[in-house]
């Protein structure tokens, strides 16, 4: 699957210019970037909804698709809604049961009208519909929006399992960087009318034997200069509310936590790997 020299704009507003990228089989790609930068537009182009663009798209036809603000027929059951998509796409309708299993929709719910579904199950059904495809690519636009933590966990599990069992590729867009970072193989930042691959794998968490950690503070954190006094910190760099800390030789995470607590400095979480949010902020700055 390849996108060659893709260019697109709305009127005089340029969205993409000369974008070329190859998508590998069996991978999960994350599409991130601020609102209005073109994430949904790119998915619409790949889905064949938006057809007036420059360049070419190879190896992608009728991909699976989850779009924001698209729903189902209220009067049909969940299973009937999926069967209808199968008939229209020329897919064996027996695959509906499999799709419902992927997203953990119980059989007794699948025979109820869609109008009775909760928000979480509506989103699950949307993802089940997107998985009903013969295309090697599935596109998910904001798959974890407006759903609870349990549903996010179930959907992430379904996505990872689907990719590993079918060797299909998933491209998903999301603003919930914390939620998607652990399932992505490659993150693509939409910026300056192009796609910038963000590499996280080659960023070492150790430098010259000293540990590097990432501490997330509350959004209104203003005590950054107090970290200078911490005996376990060699150096630090803050981007947004995340602080990358280079520990001293003798410093450990537990000692740092003790120090923060004893100095009444509130913190939210500590990561050993670079959070996608930090990487995103670095590139966006």
């Amino acid at each position: 699957m390849k996108i060659n020299n893709l260019s697109f704009g709305y009127g005089n507003t340029l969205i993409f210019e000369d974008v070329t990228i190859e998508l590998a089989a069996g991978k999960i790609y994350g599409l991130i970037g601020p609102n209005g930068v073109g994430k949904t537009t790119l998915l619409s182009i790949l889905a064949g909804i938006q057809r007036k663009y420059g360049g070419s798209v190879e190896g992608i036809d009728k991909p699976g698709l989850l779009l924001q603000n698209t729903s189902f027929y209220d009067n049909l059951t969940g299973a009937e809604n999926l069967r209808l998509v199968c008939y229209e796409k020329g897919i064996d309708p027996r695959r509906v049961e499999e799709a419902l299993r992927w997203v953990a929709i119980p059989p007794d719910l699948s025979v109820q009208k869609f109008s009775t579904y909760s928000q979480g199950y509506r989103q699950r059904l949307g993802i089940a519909r997107s998985l009903l495809t013969d295309s090697p690519l599935v596109l998910l636009d904001e798959p974890f929006t407006a759903v609870d933590v349990d549903t996010i966990g179930a959907l992430k599990k379904a996505i990872v399992q689907y990719v590993s069992e079918t060797n299909r590729t998933i491209m998903l867009s999301s603003h919930q960087l914390r939620e998607i970072e652990d399932i992505l193989d490659l993150t693509l930042l939409v910026k300056d009318h192009t796609l910038i691959p963000l590499q996280t794998a080659n960023l070492s968490t150790h430098l010259e034997g000293r540990q590097r950690i990432y501490v997330t503070f509350p959004p209104d954190f203003e005590a950054l200069d107090r970290l200078d006094a911490c005996p376990y910190i060699q150096d630090f760099r803050a981007i947004s509310q995340i602080v990358m800390i280079q520990m001293r030789q003798e410093g450990t995470v537990s000692l740092l936590v003790d120090w923060l607590e004893s100095h009444r400095i509130e913190w939210r979480r500590i990561d050993r790997n670079m959070p996608l949010e930090f990487l995103y902020a670095t590139h966006s700055a």
């Binding site: 889905a47 064949g48 909804i49 009728k62 991909p63 698709l65 779009l67 603000n69 698209t70 729903s71 189902f72 027929y73 209220d74 009067n75 049909l76 009937e80 069967r83 209808l84 998509v85 008939y87 229209e88 796409k89 309708p93």
Partner: protein
């Protein structure tokens, strides 16, 4: 074949039964009851008058106004279920041609149109039965047979309108504007067909099918053109 039937079945299932019953009753039993109530208050004036005046007006109101209006309401309601979930937009990701969907929707409308026609024939018979003692009826069974044929003729004549208004409903984003355009064409079509005898407006094909000198055969060619153009334009518009 199975998939085609299943798709047609699901096309019906997309719609709420209560809505369909409401529309069908609203366009058959309700006009009949209103007519009966109206005639009750004028029962003395009707005494000795020819029954054909009443039945002719009843058939005429259906051909000119009520059937086209029924098709407009039904087409808009049927397309509304697609709009509600933004499903026309979504389907562009996998649907390369729209003829099948439009034809299925037209079949749904036509089958309901046929249902209303049979209800109308029944209610029309009841109307004749309720008036035949007070008015000059002549051969009642012949009157019923002729009027039933007229109802069937109007139903067949309005098949092109089913496709035409479906095309409008599918392409016009706001359903209020779809209704407005349909109503305007309906209202302007009546004087045009009456003054010119030109069957070009599908909203007045019902009138044309009953008009002396025109008849059903006169709308075969324009009807075929309307159906074909509606399909092509709807397919083109939805692909864009």
């Amino acid at each position: 074949m199975n998939a085609a039937l299943s798709k047609l079945y699901l096309e019906f299932r997309k719609l709420k039964i209560s809505l369909l019953v409401f529309i069908c009753i609203g366009f058959s039993a309700v006009p009949f009851l209103i007519t009966e109530v109206f005639l009750y208050f004028y029962r003395d004036e009707l005494m000795g008058q020819p029954l054909a005046v009443i039945t002719g007006n009843n058939v005429g109101s259906w051909s000119a106004l009520l059937y086209p209006l029924f098709i407009i309401v039904l087409a808009q309601s049927i397309v509304e279920v697609e709009r509600k979930g933004n499903l026309l937009h979504y389907a562009r990701s996998y649907r390369r041609h729209w003829m099948g969907l439009i034809t299925r929707k037209a079949l749904v409308i036509f089958s309901l149109l046929l249902t209303v026609t049979f209800l109308n024939i029944a209610f029309h018979a009841l109307l004749i039965y309720s008036l035949k003692e007070r008015m000059v009826a002549g051969d009642v069974s012949e009157l019923m047979r002729a009027d039933s044929q007229d109802f069937i003729r109007i139903t067949v004549a309005l098949i092109p309108l089913v496709f035409f208004h479906l095309m409008l409903a599918l392409l016009i984003q706001k359903s209020g504007i779809g209704y407005l355009v349909g109503m305007l064409l309906l209202v302007t079509g009546i004087p045009i067909i009456n003054l010119t005898d030109l069957p070009i407006n599908p909203y007045s094909f019902g009138i044309a099918s009953l008009k002396p000198g025109l008849g059903l055969h006169s709308i075969v060619l324009p009807g075929a053109v309307v159906i074909l153009l509606s399909l092509v334009v709807a397919d083109w518009g939805l692909k864009r």
